[in-house]
């Protein structure tokens, strides 16, 4: 291999791996009772953490805290090893460029075409138009929506919008992905497509991720399937095996009540977890 021609600084494997996201005793309230109370967890490099919890428990809030869109009342949050709790918005913007986020409702820019939505970050970097076009097409191909290139978000279905949002989040090769309920309110077939995309991103690019989901079914799919590049499909792991780097977090009434693997989750004696899984 020709190592001499490569500039040394930006070779991730050489650096000691930092945890992309760390929460330390984070609490957060809007005008009322606390939404999150003393939440601590860490997301390791190459890890995928699936965040479960009943509606309105604060899952979206937690995700927005992770990339500094919201600020906690107390506690500390680290993003890529840097404390963001009191970081200026300007510095935060630079850090956020390295993350990709899929919002609960997609949050596509409704006055921009799909091309401009997906290519947003590349346009901001003033890349040449041909390069942007090419990379946008590749990202759209990844989510199987190449034909929507010139359309506006309003002419897409909910599931298509969610997939475009995924394309927008992954186009600049983020070092961290935050998915907020990417399959919420979608039919099983579309959900399956989206799950497959997320598993693909996990197994092909090994991007660490936090994924919020309402659908337990999806969570189990993620933990028990692996993406095969040979067949370009998601394939189930042999019975009894689970994906080692996919673990679970469960929120209940503002507290993190579970942090562990799927096996621990299923075999937990906690009545709340049992009723939640039922």
């Amino acid at each position: 291999m020709d190592t001499m021609s490569q500039p040394v600084p930006e070779s991730p494997p050489a650096e000691p791996a930092v945890d992309p996201v760390v929460f330390e005793h984070v609490s957060m309230a809007f005008n009322g009772p606390p939404v999150l109370e003393d939440v601590s967890f860490r997301l390791g490099p190459h890890e995928t953490r699936i965040l479960l919890g009943p509606a309105g428990v604060g899952k979206s809030v937690l995700l927005k805290l992770a990339n500094g869109l919201l600020r906690p009342d107390s506690g500390r949050i680290f993003l890529f090893g840097e404390e963001i709790t009191r970081m200026s918005e300007e510095k935060l913007l630079a850090l956020r460029i390295r993350t990709g986020m899929v919002f609960q409702e997609g949050a596509l820019f409704d006055s921009l075409t799909i091309r401009d939505n997906v290519g947003y970050q590349l346009i901001e970097q003033h890349l040449p138009d041909e390069v942007i076009d090419k990379r946008v097409r590749r990202a759209l191909r990844f989510v199987e929506l190449e034909h929507t290139f010139d359309m506006l978000p309003s002419s897409l279905s909910g599931g298509m919008r969610r997939r475009v949002a995924i394309a927008r989040a992954i186009i600049a090769k983020p070092e961290l992905l935050l998915y907020d309920s990417p399959t919420g309110g979608l039919d099983p077939v579309t959900s399956h497509t989206i799950n497959e995309l997320i598993v693909k991103e996990r197994d092909v690019y090994h991007t660490p991720a936090i994924l919020v989901t309402h659908r337990l079914q999806d969570a189990f799919t993620m933990a028990t399937n692996v993406f095969s590049e040979a067949t370009n499909q998601m394939e189930p792991l042999p019975t009894g095996q689970t994906h080692a780097d996919t673990t679970f977090l469960v929120l209940r009434e503002g507290k993190l009540v579970f942090d562990g693997s799927i096996r621990e989750l299923i075999h937990s004696p906690d009545p709340f977890l049992q009723s939640f899984l039922a």
Partner: protein
């Protein structure tokens, strides 16, 4: 005790208003500061200039023309009583330059664009597009607010000149065709009346008004809460607050100008 309840209510309202004023001032500071920091969104500024400036030309032309016209109409009769009909041009152009062109243009553009900005940014807030923008590493103040402020200030300045011109022309039309005055006399008196102090006054005001319209519009848009209904509320508030602020600032500026350039 009712008295206590009322005083508590008053205290809360005053507190809330002070808080809003503080928030608004910080917002303006952020917007102004962003002019000096990279990146600059010139393409967005150009689009906004077209939308606000070029888009407002028809209403400003109509408003300016008929305001000048009605000034000539109203003044002709009263000036004639004193045999001072020859001063119609002076009266129209002074009124237009000093007060009516800046204020009316400001109010028109406020109704058109402060509401537009509030509803556009407000919709973006409630659909999480602003958060999405921040998540993608873009500062919405730089990308959305700064271009609108810059474009509105420049556009309002130019639109006011349009209104000045059209107002004088409207006055001339009425003076010549309805009051049968001499056109030359009208324009002479209109022209001679204008001293540099009036020009400065008339052209400073739109800069302030443009700043008020855009910052108030964007401010109410950016702090929208509560879904579609919230967007409606933000839109109305933006127009009301910016209109009142324009008229109040006009008073202040007129006072300051009188103090800077005392009438001889």
């Amino acid at each position: 005790m009712p008295a206590e309840i009322i005083s508590e209510q008053v205290r809360r309202t005053v507190q809330r208003m002070l808080l809003a004023v503080q928030e608004y001032s910080l917002f303006c500071w952020e917007a102004v500061r962003s002019f000096w920091r990279q990146p600059h969104y010139w393409a967005d500024t150009l689009i906004q200039s077209d939308l606000i400036g070029v888009g407002s030309v028809p209403i400003v032309v109509l408003t300016g023309f008929f305001t000048g016209g009605v000034l000539a109409l109203q003044s002709a009769a009263s000036l004639a009583q004193f045999g001072a009909q020859a001063y119609t041009g002076r009266f129209v152009s002074l009124s237009m330059f000093r007060e009516l062109a800046p204020v009316l243009t400001g109010l028109m553009v406020s109704g058109r664009n402060a509401s537009g900005m509030a509803s556009e940014l407000g919709s973006m807030v409630v659909t999480e597009q602003i958060d999405a923008m921040r998540a993608l590493g873009t500062d919405p103040i730089k990308k959305l607010v700064a271009p609108r402020v810059f474009a509105t200030v420049i556009a309002l300045f130019l639109l006011t000149i349009v209104a000045d011109t059209l107002g004088t022309a409207g006055g001339a039309t009425v003076a010549v065709f309805l009051s049968h005055q001499n056109g030359n006399q009208y324009f002479n008196s209109a022209y001679q009346a204008l001293v540099p102090a009036d020009m400065i006054q008339g052209l400073t005001k739109p800069l302030f008004f443009g700043f008020i319209i855009s910052t108030v519009g964007c401010f109410f848009g950016m702090k929208t809460t509560g879904g579609t209904q919230g967007v409606g509320r933000a839109t109305t508030q933006a127009v009301v607050v910016s209109s009142v602020m324009i008229i109040f600032t006009d008073f202040l500026l007129s006072r300051v100008m009188l103090w800077l350039f005392p009438p001889v």
